[in-house]
Symmetry: C3
Subunit: 418 residues, 3 copies
């Protein structure tokens, strides 16, 4: 007979977290200092505001977007906070060790390094979306740290081998994170949640909590895309990115709702589809942004991204499950990977249209290499991570305890003494 | 026998939204460019922060304030997002075509133009409050676009004929939006929701979700009122507006709670009244702000606004329904129109007190004209819009499906396959 | 037989609030002006952004953190808004009268004065945490105003007698507020809620609403600690405080979750413990911040603060109740007082380690005096306030109406007419 309770993580999570946190603090002791020469006070003010917008997106936006499942709200927001807090610390270290803003063997914390660390954490949170509800927090924690490591290495390869623009290489976070997460989810596939787990649904409250996260992501996305564009040296690009992201997102909301209603047999909208697809415009424009120069191009990209994403959510999610046995809880494939690749295509076409002959060909080859390397890295590392996390040593919960807070959280009806 | 389901909008909403969005994108192709000469980087930083505060108010504040009804949360926040996203795009175009910041037949997007567009969207969202829960999204969408058009035309008249200050003319948004909405609601009156619809109430969760929206509106209102005051040329006014709005709102919270408890027979507070009346101080001070020069005047205005608004909510809302057959779901008349007119009176009296003779009379005449034109425009356009939306072509839901998400949203208990 | 309903406050709260508000407005008429010479436009921009972060923390953060009880959400967020709005107005006046930024018998409102007023309000809200759910709004209102008065007097003593740094004296707010609140709660102890009140628990929704408040506090804490550090004169300190608070909070989240799981017999996490303990790193670093110069020290302080706080929540809260008859609803002793004192010790040790001989001894004596004065003041004023609030004139609710919104709020099932 199956055990009644989910396996206790008392001997796993605290140990792993204590250990990692101690290692992080020791690494900070020896390698990390605070950068005291932020170039200029005005830029610090600007960066701090952008940093906070991103900070809100990572902790509030992703955290509450993950509360949509009817019985998994505590885990959604709680584990998001745990993972992001760990991932940020690790990303500061990894970025400092591998990427070039390092000073004489020391890592200097600055607004730029913290913003980059939060973007790396975002990439881990995207990956988490694919396995949402089907793994325990120890697995999530290890997965997040491996994902950040893989993503930073991928950036290092792109920047060192292909001399890619740092801005462009970091915007691969959506594609990398989504494919990584999908591979982990594919390896960890559970037969028991097929065809549809009874707890994998929303209700009135959780739908609104998730709307909340969606709105924070949606509202602050212009800062997310533009934060690493220098206000001093690339002012024109910065304005273009801000207004472009804003308009692209405005169009994708309208399209997400229209497509959701159009594809429903009863003519009703689906809250989960809308929440996710409304964001696809921001993903697509993020990858394409350095090439977009007119507001209407951004709007067209938002239009297509939401169209593809909403159709994908409606038709492809179930297909993925039945055909490939790959269950993708938040449908990150349709929300991050496909709009990301759409943005990549848009980038390519705009550049090809504005260049000629040899330059165009060289750009195309370079551009294709960037995508191919990112895709390969994410698939390989994702598969390896999945295999590692499949070990029963990590005490995954039973199928019936998936999508359920009871496995990890004390609930008051269980502890009231009276 | 009445049909069991609300009429499907599958053939209406997607079509209307696709069509409008395509027209918007085409207009953007030909007319809209990004302004690359924002006067100065420091001002851009400042404006971007203010823009984001307003952005949060429009999408998060209004969106969650609209979730207060027990079964209408998805529609409240979802339709708010759809409407606001469409209204902003349309307002950028309308403002660009009619109002003078246009360059050689081109519209240049800048922080100023986006902030103005969001304020126009706010005006449409105020109007939406009056018909909240009694119209379907197609009707709301058309209503929002007409409202924005009317409001921009009203601004154009005030600025061209009366040479009104742009700042003053845009703050008429509360009065214009509220009266417009009330007229639409009056024309669309449904006998079936009389005396009180069973779903027109709050519960513990929706009350807190609405508190959320209230707080975002309340906290960021100083930015809402001061965003269009130039930091460079009108610094003194800017500081006065920020601190004045802050103090006015602090007083109106206290008054809203006191009056709500005082007018209740059991000595209990009413969450809905408090949430709305706490904001009335911000509305009133917005209309009066260019004349207010001392903190205590702002506090007195906040005091009176909350008093009137809370009394109005308690006694006038039902009276409006029984006497005039005009049902005003969010009581926008008491929250936006009456405090707005109070602010207008305060503005008038302060100016009369500080001027003498001819100047005072001329100011009074001009000031009265501004109000009269705005009121007439809003009443006329509102009535016309109501008549247009009454067409059964738009497939309004049945009375029993009012205030109910089931009419427009898929719910999981209907879609679970297991 | 006990009365069925909670006593009506209709004759108390509106009267007290009207009266106080009128007095405040009169004081504003005679003493308060708006400061028109904010030193510099760039600093104003910076201060306004920080002010808004703190504004969000006070009204949204504390307000929603207080919604965790299953039947006390309306009161939690509503009373928080009322109290904070009153406390801010009163703190502007008290700070202006007692503390030296006063100009020729006038109080000038500036960003600095508003930020200080909000920090004083924070201190009152911390105190409110200890009596949360067990007092009515009139008692809370009076308690908040006395607390602010006491805290400002304490600051005045520290600054005048001990020439303490204003920054350091204001960060005593956590220790002062928490001990004040605990004393009030001890004096007002109700036998009837022993051993555990049936309504003192969370559910799925309120846990997420509280998560919300937690996250806003957590995300914006770097602004809370650094807002009063001058960007111009103490830039190095400002950066250290921002990054230090950020890292300290990141570590304390990880530790709070680990300890919560480790100390639970079933290996499950407790949402309430995590929400509170995750913030303890910010409290501790706030008190220690002027002495912390390396990121890893901040991380170690966050580590220890969360450890102590989570252990205290698990083991000390019940002990306090049984041994001392002191019920501390939000466990502010473990969340604010103990991490605050830990930060105080950290401050002391770091200073002692970096100085020698006489200087070290003098610093230690001064440092100990600051703590002793603050602790004594808070205990004495807290006890006196408790005795004053114990008068039955204030109509406290019955024990069975504790932790229950029904006592103060209209609910729709009671007012529906149909």
């Amino acid at each position: 007979m199956a055990p009644q309770y989910a396996p206790s993580l008392r001997s796993r999570l605290p140990l792993v977290a204590f250990l990692l946190e101690t290692i992080f603090i020791l690494l900070f002791v020896f390698f990390v200092k605070i950068e005291q020469h932020e170039s200029d006070s005005k830029l610090f003010i600007r960066s701090y505001a952008e940093f906070q917008d991103i900070h809100v997106m990572i902790f509030m936006g992703f955290g509450f977007l993950a509360t949509f499942l009817v019985r998994y709200g505590f885990s959604g927001s709680g584990f998001n906070m745990l993972l992001a807090a760990m991932a940020v610390q690790w990303a500061v270290l990894m970025n400092g060790f591998l990427l070039p803003q390092r000073h004489r063997r020391e890592i200097h914390i600055s607004m730029k390094s913290v913003i980059e660390a939060e973007l790396c954490a975002a990439s881990a949170l995207v990956a988490m979306g694919a396995v949402h509800g089907k793994t325990n927090p120890v697995q999530l924690l290890l997965m997040a740290l491996v994902e950040v490591t893989g993503f930073v290495i991928n950036q290092w390869i792109l920047r060192t081998l292909l001399r890619a623009d740092p801005l462009y290489s970091i915007m691969m976070l959506h594609i990398f994170g989504a494919l990584f997460g999908v591979m982990v989810s594919w390896v960890l596939h559970r037969e028991g949640i097929n065809p549809k787990h009874e707890k994998e649904k929303i209700d009135r409250s959780t739908g609104l909590f998730a709307m909340f996260g969606t709105l924070f992501l949606w509202m602050f996305w212009p800062s997310f895309n533009s934060a690493l564009v220098s206000h001093r040296w690339e002012r024109e690009l910065k304005l273009t990115v801000i207004y472009g992201t804003y308009l692209s997102l405005a169009v994708s909301v309208v399209m997400a709702m229209s497509v959701s209603m159009l594809t429903s047999s009863k003519g009703k909208m689906n809250m989960v589809h809308i929440q996710s697809s409304a964001l696809s415009g921001g993903v697509a424009i993020g990858v394409a942004m350095t090439a977009v120069h007119a507001p209407w191009i951004a709007m067209v990209i938002g239009f297509c991204a939401a169209l593809l994403s909403a159709l994908g959510f409606q038709y492809m999610k179930d297909h993925m499950l039945f055909a490939f046995e790959c269950h993708d809880t938040c449908s990150v494939l349709n929300v991050h990977a496909i709009p990301g690749i759409l943005g990549w295509f848009a980038h390519l076409f705009i550049r090809l249209a504005s260049n000629e002959g040899t330059i165009a060909v060289r750009f195309a080859v370079y551009h294709i290499c960037v995508l191919l390397i990112t895709v390969c890295m994410s698939l390989v590392i994702g598969t390896a991570t999945g295999l590692f996390l499949k070990l029963s040593f990590w005490r995954p919960q039973q199928d019936s305890k998936c999508f359920d807070d009871q496995a990890f959280w004390e609930f008051p009806n269980l502890v009231v003494h009276k």
